[in-house]
């Protein structure tokens, strides 16, 4: 049998590599913004905000490439599913970049020398590391079409969800002065942003399963939590 459409396949592989490469940019932004958080480094946070243009640019690049591919090559079957999934992946990538920006914008609001609750900060940094790990795992699962690895993201995401609940409890119990309480509330928003990044990683995992099986299913159904244990 003769291999055909080689150019098309190369182009599709290139788009996938660009989209997944975008996830590396997200991991980079996330690591930087967590470092900025740890050291109250407002300059570094500003850099994260500026660098989000790279992630947005990558989104536009892949999106445009996919539209062009759809128009010229009319992909079908696995190719079509991959193209549809890539559109989703880049959207999640772009959202995760925005969440990093949201976190970065909190830091100047908190001030250069905010009253830090060590326990909250420790948990946030742990959440950030876990989220970066999940984004990398989502990338690896997609690239290797590994459904089991993709499904494992749900278990990984439980770690983030648990830390998020713990931070919420600590903020609620915070008995410090007004500045400390204000900082704590801002950190709850940071936790919320990291939690969303974890969810986006799970969503990319769902796209992996879709490419492989042809069936889309939510790994976790937030609106029907009872069904998740089935």
């Amino acid at each position: 049998m003769q291999e055909t459409r080689v150019h098309f396949q190369e182009e599709l592989a290139q788009l996938e590599s660009q989209a997944l490469g975008g996830l590396d940019l997200v991991v980079e932004a996330l690591n930087r913004v967590m470092e900025a958080l740890e050291h109250q480094d407002v300059e570094l946070a500003t850099m994260v905000i500026a660098d989000d243009d790279r992630i947005d640019g990558r989104y536009l690049e892949v999106h445009q490439g996919i539209l062009s591919l759809l128009a010229r090559q009319a992909p079908v079957a696995t190719d079509l599913r991959l193209v549809a999934a890539l559109l989703d992946v880049v959207k999640h990538m772009e959202r995760m970049g925005d969440q990093c920006v949201n976190i970065a914008k909190m830091l100047p609001v908190a001030g250069n020398e905010p009253p830090v609750e060590e326990e909250i900060l420790k948990r946030l940094l742990k959440m950030g590391r876990q989220a970066a790990f999940q984004v990398a795992q989502a990338k690896q699962a997609f690239a290797s079409r590994d459904v089991a690895l993709a499904e494992d993201l749900v278990i990984q995401d439980d770690v983030i969800d648990r830390l998020n609940r713990e931070i919420f409890r600590e903020v609620l119990d915070c008995s410090g002065d007004a500045d400390t309480r204000e900082w704590s509330l801002l950190m709850m928003l940071v936790a919320r942003s990291i939690e969303r990044i974890g969810d986006n990683a799970v969503d990319i995992g769902e796209q992996t399963a879709f490419v492989v099986t042809g069936l889309f299913r939510e790994f976790q159904d937030a609106s029907h939590p009872d069904l998740n244990s089935e």
């Binding site: 459409r5 098309f8 079908v76 079957a77 190719d79 079509l80 599913r81 042809g214």
Partner: protein, 297 residues
Amino acid sequence: MTYERAKDAEQEAGTVPTPFPRSQQPRTESSATRTSAYGAARPSGTLARNVSVRGLNAWYGDNHAVKNLNFEIEPNKATALIGPSGSGKSTVIRCINRMHEEIPGARADGEVLLDEVNVYDPKIDVVAIRRLVGMVFQKPNPFPTMSIFDNVAAGLRLTGTKGVGLRERVEKSLRAAGLWEEVKDRLKEPGISLSGGQQQRLCIARTIAIEPEVILMDEPASALDPLSTLRIEELVDELKARYTIVIVTHNMQQAARVADSTAFLLDGELIEHAPTEKMFTNPDDERTERYVTGKFG
């Protein structure tokens, strides 16, 4: 040509040939609901029959072109046959109206059932089968010496339709083929004076004029420009409300656009037959996947 054959048969038998015993005539035009050949009432206006292919084999001399094919073609649906050249697509549809055996050295066995009538039953009148199963070919083939009107009327005249009735049927057929508005003022001009796309719609009008129950289309748009192709595709969508449509196409996007279900043939074997959406998003068979994605040619 079908009509010439029908004419010969008519002269021989002195009547319009039918594959069915007179008591089981497939249509009774006067009643509100028509009665099928088997007594079951069908809604008025639809002529479509289920086509059931069972254990079909076809040969060209020693070449076994179609191998033990089994599949169902649903009424009022468009079914596309796709596959590489030489996969047996055209042979399959030519077996449905027994055109295959017209080729010297060609033969077929197995069953092709129109509802429950086996077109390979030795007692069946082949010409009448071809009247029930109309065919549209790759290259438009209007009768070259006939006017637009006569091209459509030719088959009807054989059935004894005349005068006002004839004119009404011609107009109805041309309208159904989406050609009436373009030709109503030039019905006396030769059929071959029309453009390629118009000629193909004229051939479709000619086919539906005699009210077949199944329409076979063998690459009906492959010789047409893109706009004419889209018109034919829209027409297929309209015609399936009334007929069973089987379309052979090399153009996979065309199959994706027009067909409700798609069957993939390879080397004379049916590899997969499924709803078109499934065939083009998530086919079961690896060979279908490789063919529709263009990974082998």
